[in-house]
């Protein structure tokens, strides 16, 4: 009997360690770098660009879109003759959505693999950890998936190439004001980026006199929203906003429906624009508003080529994270070609001075490397189709409100 208890304890430990296997990336099959593009061609040595992107773990679902953006552009670049006349190769690892693993991988990329350039990982949480590596080695790092601006205070080598989180859903406050929705409930996924999205919206809502009647933070892997929605229900908020990723966006929308909560507006952040959101919810997805930073109808350089190339390769329409990854590589190409060098200090100064347009928007930095050019937009599912709805100057369809009656 004692032996059985021992086994039970051991099994428990092993099971827990299986769940925590994220820490042992070095031994996993997915941790082997995947190489894109020729390593040596035309007798010239390739320029190697390193990154870690979550292929597993909580961010993997969305992170893979970002990686597709990187890959698509690098393939295109190689077809056009590469960088400085040399072919380009991507060296990509899986950080398993774990900041500590990502730090180890970027250290490895710079000091062992000796890549020529690095680009950022997915999510603010991971970039926040990795930013220090770029600073330590004095390597330029374009971060297209780190929307939390706080990362870029006191950094010299990190460059934000995404609209800051604070702007993601701020215009929801404008819509509420226009429509006369006076109260708001907030569900906040507790990550740096999603918390910042909520802060940005709250500031603007309060400036407009909109009352926040309910606010709840939840851990990033929360899957059961029944108790949260139950406690939010009595507040009867006009607008419900969740700063979410994909799984919680789906679960929260479902739970609101199940409990018969009928806000006049439902807006969620990351996750809504992804096709799997609509597939998971069917007609329930209609009229849910989400944020985006890119749209096929926007007038941006190489946008049609970008959409066509993506569709050819992945047989679906791109989402904004793809555009951000693609845009980061556009920037890198421009900077390298302009600097005619891979010298990190020269590259950094070149990028800081750049004022240019990419598929992800107009790129412009402030003195600390924070993005001031890229904009955030709102989209809405309408009869099973994603439509750009805000701001009105670029909208392809008018907003459909109320969400439920």
């Amino acid at each position: 009997m004692r032996a059985q208890v021992k086994i039970a304890v051991l099994a428990g430990l092993l099971a827990l360690s299986a769940a925590a296997a994220t820490a042992s990336a070095g031994n996993t099959p997915t941790a082997r770098p995947s190489l894109i593009g020729p390593s040596r061609s035309h007798g010239k040595e390739a320029i190697r660009i390193g990154a870690s992107i979550s292929a597993t773990g909580v961010y993997a679902s969305v992170a893979q879109y970002g990686l597709r953006g990187y890959r698509l552009y690098v393939d295109d670049l190689n077809r056009r003759g590469g960088l400085l006349g040399r072919p380009v190769q991507l060296v990509v690892y899986d950080d398993q959505s774990n900041p500590a693993t990502a730090v180890r991988l970027y250290n490895k990329l710079v000091s062992e693999d000796r890549v020529d350039l690095i680009v950022g990982p997915y999510s603010s949480a991971i970039t926040q950890a990795v930013a220090a590596v770029a600073e330590k080695f004095q390597r330029v790092m374009i971060d297209p998936f780190a929307a939390a601006s706080v990362i870029f205070t006191n950094t010299h080598w990190n460059i934000q190439a995404i609209a800051p989180s604070e702007r993601y859903l701020a215009s929801i406050a404008d819509i509420c004001k226009l429509r006369g929705y006076g109260t708001m409930a907030l569900f906040v996924n507790n990550t740096p980026s999603t918390a910042a999205i909520a802060e940005g919206l709250k500031a603007r809502a309060q400036a407009f006199g909109i009352r926040i009647v309910y606010e709840q933070r939840y851990p990033k892997d929360a899957s059961d929203f029944s108790s949260m929605v139950l406690s939010a229900k009595p507040a009867q908020a006009d607008a419900i906003v969740g700063t979410t990723y994909v799984p919680d966006a789906v679960s929260l929308t479902r739970e609101l429906n199940r409990q018969g909560v009928k806000p006049k507006l439902l807006a969620l952040s990351i996750g809504v624009v992804e096709p799997q959101f609509q597939k998971a919810l069917g007609s329930l997805a209609n009229r849910v508003i989400g944020n985006t930073q890119w749209w096929p109808t926007l007038d941006r350089p190489r946008n049609p080529e970008f959409v066509a190339a993506y569709r050819r390769r992945y047989h679906e329409s791109p989402v904004y994270q793809v555009a951000l990854g693609y845009g980061a590589m556009q920037l890198l190409e421009q900077a390298v070609e302009q600097a005619k060098s891979l010298d990190q200090a020269t590259l950094r100064d070149t990028i800081f001075a750049l004022r240019t347009n990419t598929v992800a928007g107009h790129f412009e930095l402030d003195d600390e490397g924070r993005q001031v050019g890229y904009k955030s937009y709102l989209m809405q599912w309408q009869s099973g189709k994603p439509k750009l709805v805000w701001p009105p100057t670029v909208a392809e369809a008018p907003l459909q409100l109320p969400y439920r009656q």
Binding site: A18, A19, Q216, S227, M228, L230, K279
Partner: protein, 288 residues
């Protein structure tokens, strides 16, 4: 009224947990193996059901009728070809089998990532709820709980009253005794593992309806199932049901009164406490 609603939510969540944990419990009860690939079986079955729905519009409950038997066969093969090959007995054999299923889980998760991708997938099915007065009952979890109870009852009847069920219980109590009575214990183990796999598949079918799933969640579901059967006293069927409903209720009430962070931490706190205070589980080991 809120208390009634919380209790209903807790029971429904518990039903889902019971559905997930049942297969793991059976396999442990008979073979003393904690199948660390159990959660991956759940996830992969769920993703297959998703694909069938997405590509051909097959109703998920209907696909369960095909997916669960397929996992039965798969489980039987795994047992025959891999786990049965471990010749060591006693604690050493149990440890080796633990490592084997741990490795299996690792491989399966990575294969599933290649096949299905890392995206969180779910089905738009049973998304509304029944209303009785002001109480709402989530349809998807209700179906999951009903299936859990149905399967638990079927398992109970099978293990208690049928000859093959009795053979399984005999083997779980004493392999040597069972062999000396002429029971083909190899076959018994194969049936147990196959049934455990089929039960995991049945859970996956409903899980993909209840919430978004992705291959990387496999280990999380193993841990959750393990917590449930530990609460119940590993291998104890009534205990597992008790553990599932207790954990579900604790999370429902905890989530409401103490917040979502406490709700997420509860399974692990419960497991630590039970290991420290009452490693034999909430129920004494009576029936296996």
């Amino acid at each position: 009224m809120i208390v009634v609603q919380l209790a209903v939510n807790g029971i429904l969540l518990g039903g889902l947990y019971l559905l997930m944990a049942q297969g793991l419990n059976l396999v442990f009860g008979v073979m003393k193996i904690v199948n660390l690939a159990h959660g991956v079986f759940i996830v992969v079955a769920g993703l297959v059901v998703y694909r069938l729905y997405d590509a051909y519009g097959v109703n998920p409950l209907l696909s369960a009728l095909a997916v669960a038997p397929a996992f039965f066969v798969l489980g039987a093969l795994l047992q025959r070809l891999l786990i049965e090959r471990i010749k060591a007995t006693g604690v050493q054999g149990e440890l080796l089998s633990l490592m084997l299923t741990y490795g299996l889980s690792y491989i399966l998760i990575n294969v599933a990532l290649r096949v299905f991708g890392a995206q969180y997938l779910s089905l738009p099915y049973l998304q509304s709820s029944l209303r009785i007065g002001s109480i709402t009952i989530d349809e998807s979890r209700l179906v999951a709980s009903a299936l859990a109870v149905l399967l638990a009852a079927a398992l109970y009847v099978w293990l208690t009253y049928t000859p093959s069920g009795k053979q399984i219980r005999a083997t779980s109590q004493s392999t040597i005794g069972a062999v000396s009575c002429g029971i083909d214990t190899r076959r018994v183990r194969m049936i147990a593992f196959a049934t455990g796999s089929a039960l995991a598949a049945a859970a996956g079918t409903l899980l993909v309806v209840v919430r978004p799933v992705a291959p990387q969640l496999g280990d999380d579901f193993t841990v959750l199932s393990f917590v449930v059967i530990t609460l119940g006293g590993l291998g104890n069927y009534l205990g597992a049901a008790l553990g599932a409903f207790l954990l579900g209720s604790a999370q429902s009430f905890g989530g409401y009164y103490l917040g979502p962070s406490v709700e997420s931490a509860l399974p692990f706190v419960a497991m630590l406490l039970i290991m420290l205070i009452r490693p034999q589980g909430l129920q004494p080991r009576v029936a296996r």
